[in-house]
Structures are given as C-alpha cells and as structure tokens.
C-alpha cells in the first residue's frame, strides 16, 4: 500500500489562486466547495427560521407581514433541502466515495465542476426571488410554501419565475452530480472491491443517485408547466382552461416523497459506518441492510399520494397509498434494528459521531411513529396541514438527515483536515443541539394535535405556551450552530495531529480504503489502483 502512496507525491499539487477552485476537477476540492456552500446555506436558511420563530413567539403580527412570512417559510424549506442537506451529502460523496472505493477521482471530473458551480448561481436566483418583492411592480411574494401548489403559484409575482429557474438549475446540478456518482460507483471501483464489500455509505449514495435521476426530471417538468401556465397561456393546472391543479400535486409528490429518502439515505450511510466503528463490531446484517435500502428505494417511488389524502381520492386509491405507506415503516424499522444489534454487546465508546448516531436512532424512530400515524387516512384527515406534520418531518429530517451529516463531519474531519477536533467541544455541541432541537419541535406535536395549522403567520392565543417554548428552543438551536462553526474553523486551522486511522474501530467489517491514505490525503490519491488484501 505504501508504495502506491509514495508514487502519488510525484504528481502536481493543486494550482495556485482562485483557479484552483473555479476550474477545479479534483474531487476533494469540489467536495470541500460543496461542504462550504452547504454551511453557508445552513446559516442563511437558519436565519430565516430565526425570523419565523421570532414572529411566532407571540400571536398576532409583529415582525413580518403575512406574505413575507410565507415567502421566508418557502425559502427556508427550499434552502435547507436543496441548498444545505443535498449539497452537504454530495460534498461527502465527492470527498469520500473515490477514496473509499479506490478510484483516482470521480468518473466525470469536468461535469463535477459544473454541477457544483451551478449551485451558487441557483442560490443567487433563489435569494433574488425573495428580494425582488421589495422592488415596486413585481407583484405578490412567493406565499405558497415549498410545495408551490397552483393556483396560488400561478398568481404570485415575478419572484416565482426566478424561483422556477432556480429550481431548474438546482435540478440540473443534482442530476449531473448523481449521474457522476452513480457512474463512479458502478465503474471505478478498485479490483477487489465488489458490490458486496462496498462501505454502506457508498451503497446509500448509489440508491440516492438513482432516485434523483428518476424523480428530479419530473419536478423539472412540473415547474416548467407552471412557468407555461404563468406566461404562455397554457392551462395545465387551470380549471378554466380544462386543466386540473391536482395534477401538479401528483407531479410534485412523485418527486417529493422520494426526495425525503434522498435526504435520508446518505445519512443512513454515514450511520452504517459510525455505529460499527464505535461499537467495534462489524455491521449487523450488512446484506439485509442493503436490501432494505433497495426496498425503500422501490417502495418510496409508489406511495407519493399519502401527502394528498384530503383531495378526495377513490377508496381504492386511498387504501392502496395507505397500505403502501405503512409498509414503508417496515424496512425503516428494520434498518434501525440493524444498528441497534450492531451496538449490542459491542465495546462502545461515545465520541461525538457516536453520540449523534445513537441520538439519531432514538429520535428518528420517533418520526417513524408519527409517520405511521399520518399514514392512516382517517387520522391524517385531522393531522394534515397542522403543526403535527411539521413536528413529524422535522423529527424525520433533522435527526434523519442533518444529524447524520453532522456525525459525518465529526467522523471525517480528522481525515479531511489532518487535525483532531476538540472532543469536549464536540460533545457540548452535541448536547446543546440535541436538547434544543427537542425543545423546539416536541411541543409542536401538541399544538398540532390541538389544531394549530401550519404556514400561517398568526395563531390563536390558546397555542401561546407551546409556541414560546418552541421559539426559545429554536433560538438555542440556532445559537448552537455558532459553536459548530467555531469547531470546524478551529479544526481546519490546526489542532492535534490526526493519525491516518483516527478511529481504530473503522477497520472492522466493510471498511473503505480511505483509511489506507494519510490524513489529510494527498491531492491526488489512488492514481494506480490499490491492491486489496
């Protein structure tokens, strides 16, 4: 192995100056850019959440007007999903997948560059769609929520056009990134890295990439029709011209439901590395776990209308979607059991990534429970569009996606930077963020069950206490991320030197090849395929 690494030093280092980044085709540099972009978006989207929580601290209208409130709500969701979670997961894929499978780089390095650089352009369009309302004559702000349902989305002002173009760019970017990742995984594995020896993270991204390739184009088609309805006199979604607004809902959720697995799966992949590492035991049931992910992938494509129970579907269709949705909780539950059995009788230590791992299992299981409640049609008719749904998906997405990424950040920071992060600060961050997350979102189950509707700037005074707890929790949650930023910056800048194998447990089971490289790895790695013993 070491012979291979020595050879790497003959290669050129990175080019100097801005060209290193602008023209980069290096998977590590592009991965870094993705991660930095995601971090910036985390703070922008988080800032919007802070305004939302401040507004909801009291009933009535204090800070933002209703349309601006709904626009912030819409952009908060879109930024967190498309700007934060997906780029962060793509950044980790860029960094880790070639190193894990022993490839010199991604399969299509130039396309890789383009998929990244479309993102800042999309972000600028997205933010201008928010700001354009302050220019007179541009019409109503985007007050639809991230689902962009017509007829409202056909009637809003110019911001919607900018947003539609932004969604196009985001879609193209993630389709290209997915094609690249899938191609890399299928074709670039080193000899001796068969499918069934790939680290779980690689498997998770294979499914994620395929999902994106299948559903992203449908969203792109849907918003394109929206654009046509707005400007070219078509009536795809306009009943006056023979269209049907419900059609958009189907197109949106055909994308939207698989999208939640796009957000979830990379983090499940990270869990599949973190839990065995700190349990010092191979992953329990590696093959079944891969199978469950495949099952989730397939079933996830055909249950979308559980978001639309209230539109008046036939009994047959409703029953089908209900049973399908309940079935989904089976592979999800089994995955969690795999992780629990991996920990069973392991010699556990509780470094920051592991703390996140365990917290994810607990809190994400809770989202699974509320998910099954929502899947049941008669119950959902009450819960739909209430804060109960908000609580459900924040429990699913923050532990299920975001905390998984945080676990990944702490797990791989030593490899990326060559420095150990400060374990004590990491643990403070973990407890701070986990407790404040629960403080924020747990009460929303109650306000939702009591009937508080989502996406409305004002609320009845009966919900005051729940909302004040939520807001205080929200501010603490937001604040905890300053510590996160501090830890990251400090670790990048310096700190204790990290070993090549900072986690001794990472060698167990189906390890990737990244641990055979030094920390930080050389600019070019595995230029000749490694030999796997």
């Amino acid at each position: 192995m070491s012979a291979v690494i020595h050879e790497d030093h003959h290669h050129d280092g990175p080019p100097a100056g801005f060209k290193r980044w602008l023209y980069s085709t290096n998977h590590k540099d592009i991965g870094t850019m993705y991660l930095i972009f995601a971090l910036v978006m985390l703070f922008i989207g988080g800032g919007m959440a802070m305004i939302i929580r401040a507004e909801l601290f009291m009933p009535g209208i204090q800070i933002v007007n209703p349309d601006l409130y709904n626009n912030l709500l819409t952009d908060h969701a879109l930024i967190m999903i498309f700007g934060m979670v997906m780029p962060a997961a793509a950044g980790m894929a860029n960094w880790m997948i070639p190193m894990m499978i022993g490839a010199p780089d991604m399969a299509l390095p130039r396309m890789n560059n383009m998929s990244f650089w479309l993102l800042p352009a999309a972000a600028i369009l997205l933010l201008s769609s928010l700001l354009v309302q302050f220019i007179p004559g541009t019409g109503v702000p985007i007050n639809t929520g991230w689902t962009l349902y017509p007829p409202l989305s056909v009637q809003t002002g110019m911001g919607m056009d900018l947003l539609i173009f932004s969604v196009h760019l985001l879609g193209i970017s993630s389709i290209m990134a997915s094609i690249n990742i899938v191609t890399t995984i299928l074709n670039m594995r080193a000899p001796g890295m068969p499918f069934m020896k790939m680290p779980l993270f690689v498997w998770a991204w294979l499914f994620t990439g395929l999902l994106l390739i299948i559903v992203m184009p449908v969203l792109a088609g849907g918003v394109t029709m929206l654009l046509f309805d707005r400007h070219f006199g078509t009536s795809f979604f306009d009943a006056a011209g023979g269209g049907d607004p419900v059609l958009f809902q189907h197109l949106f959720w055909f994308f939207g439901h698989p999208e939640v697995y796009v957000l979830l799966l990379p983090s499940i992949g990270v869990l599949g590395l973190v839990i065995p590492t700190f349990s010092r035991k191979p992953l329990f049931g590696y093959k079944p776990l891969v199978f469950f992910m495949g099952f989730l992938f397939a079933l996830g494509l055909v249950v979308w209308a559980h978001h639309q129970y209230t539109i008046g579907m036939s009994l047959g269709a409703t029953t089908y979607f209900m049973i399908g949705t309940i079935l989904i909780s089976i592979p999800i539950g089994l995955m969690l059991f795999n992780f629990i059995f991996t920990m069973w009788r392991g010699s556990l230590t509780f470094e920051t990534p592991m703390l996140f791992g365990i917290a994810i299992i607990l809190m994400f299981a809770f989202a699974g429970v509320t998910g099954v409640m929502l899947a049941v049609v008669p119950a959902d008719l009450q819960y739909h569009d209430s804060y109960f749904v908000v609580a459900h998906f924040h429990y699913a997405l923050i532990p299920g996606a975001v905390f998984g990424l945080y676990a990944g950040v702490f797990y791989w920071l030593p490899k990326w930077t060559g420095h150990m992060y400060n374990e004590k600060q990491g643990k403070i961050f973990f407890w701070w963020t986990t407790l404040s997350f629960n403080l924020t979102f747990f009460p929303q189950h109650f306000s939702g069950l009591a009937g508080m509707p989502r996406r409305i700037v004002d609320y009845n005074i009966q919900y005051i206490e729940f909302n004040q707890i939520s807001s205080i929790g929200g501010f603490l949650f937001g604040l905890s991320h300053l510590l996160f930023l501090y830890i990251i910056i400090k670790t990048v800048k310096g700190g204790e030197k990290a070993a090549d194998k900072p986690w001794e447990g990472a060698q167990i089971g189906t390890p990737g090849l990244e641990w055979t490289l030094p920390s930080p790895p050389p600019f070019h790695s595995f230029t000749t395929p490694p030999q796997i013993k």
Binding site: P136, T183, M188
Partner: protein
C-alpha cells in the same frame, strides 16, 4: 467488475452516462405524459368530479325511470378569484327519481362595469356519482358572456342514470365560474405596504 479499470473505464463510463441521460430524458417526458394520462384517467373514472357528462336528449328519454328511489340533488355556486358576478341556483335542492329528466335554473348577473366572458366548471360530490350524472342542457357547455349589469337565468337539464349505485342518496352539484381572461389573476401590480420591513397589519388580499 472489470479487472483493468484504468484501461476500459472511459468507454464504460460513456456507456453508463448515456444510459443515465436516457433515464433523465425519459422521466422528463413521463412528467409531460402524465398530462394526457391523468385526463384520460379522470374522464374514464370521473375521479376529479368534473366531466361535463353531456348526453343527447334522445338518449335521456330512453332510460327507464326508477320510481322506487329518490335522489336528492343539491346545488352550489361559487365565483373563482373575485369574479364580480352574482351567481346562485334558483333553488337549493330537488328530489328526483333516477331516469327522470329534471330542469333547474341558475341566476347570474354581471356586477362589473365591463363585459366579462366566463366559463362554469362543474364538480360533483361524491365523485363516484360523476359518470352517472348526465346533462342534456347546461350553461357549462359553453362560455357565457355578460354585458355590464346584464343578468339572466340559465338552464340546466339533467338526468341521473338509474345505474347509480344505491348507496348514493345525495349528490352535490357545484359550479365555479371562472373568468376566461386569466391575465388579471397574475397580479403584477404594486404592493406598497411591502416596502418596509416592519409591516402593516393588513394582509394583502386583492387576489
């Protein structure tokens, strides 16, 4: 897994990428194919409750009246997006026998000071009754034009198909009049109260 990845991977990659792009293009097309497919599904099943259900008078006359059953038909009228029309059924509901031809009227008046052309869109609840609710005459069959201040009564003649399953005893027929000039909906007008960050308390509802 090929044994010499550095050698063949370029061609192999090109092949994989081509396949992926085909999927992307196919799925983009699939999205658009949903439009006619969805329409077809709805008109076959009546799923969205909005087929016009138009039949000829002769066809209506041939169906046998089932005097043993009574179905209550309720009428409902809505204006879409602040259409300045007065629009209401002249009676709230009628009881009919399946197979019996019934005529009712709706009243409509244009309160705006300009002529407006609008289209009525029907909806039937429960939607399962849609394909059993047949009309021989309806103001929804064509667009209606009203001069400023003009008012009129419009006819609706319908017959409920005796094949309507027994469990449906009440059917609600709902019409929504929609302005055919859609440009007014896309308000690109100015919204002065938005230009400060700390904002007035009146929600903007000139939609």
């Amino acid at each position: 897994m090929n044994q010499n990845p550095q050698h063949t991977s370029k061609q192999q990659n090109a092949k994989t990428v081509r396949l992926m792009f085909l999927i992307v293009i196919g799925m983009f097309g699939f999205g658009f194919a949903m439009v006619p497919l969805y329409d077809l599904l709805c008109s076959v099943t009546g799923l969205n409750g909005s087929t016009t259900g138009r039949i000829q008078d002769e066809t209506a006359l041939t169906s046998r009246v089932d005097y043993n059953r009574i179905v209550t038909v309720e009428f409902d009228a809505t204006n879409n997006a602040d259409l300045p029309w007065e629009f209401r059924p002249t009676i709230k509901k009628v009881d009919v026998h399946p197979g019996e031809i019934k005529e009712v009227t709706y009243f409509v008046k244009n309160n705006a000071n300009h002529a407006i052309i609008a289209q009525a869109i029907p909806g039937i609840t429960p939607w399962q009754a849609t394909n059993h609710f047949n009309k021989t005459e309806c103001f929804c069959f064509k667009q209606q034009k009203l001069e400023p201040g003009e008012g009129k009564e419009m006819a609706l003649r319908f017959v409920i198909d005796p094949t309507l399953p027994k469990e449906y005893r009440t059917i609600t027929l709902s019409y929504t009049f929609m302005d055919t000039d859609r440009s007014k909906l896309k308000q690109n007008g100015d919204m002065p109260e938005l230009h400060t960050f700390v904002i007035s308390k009146t929600p903007n509802n000139n939609i």
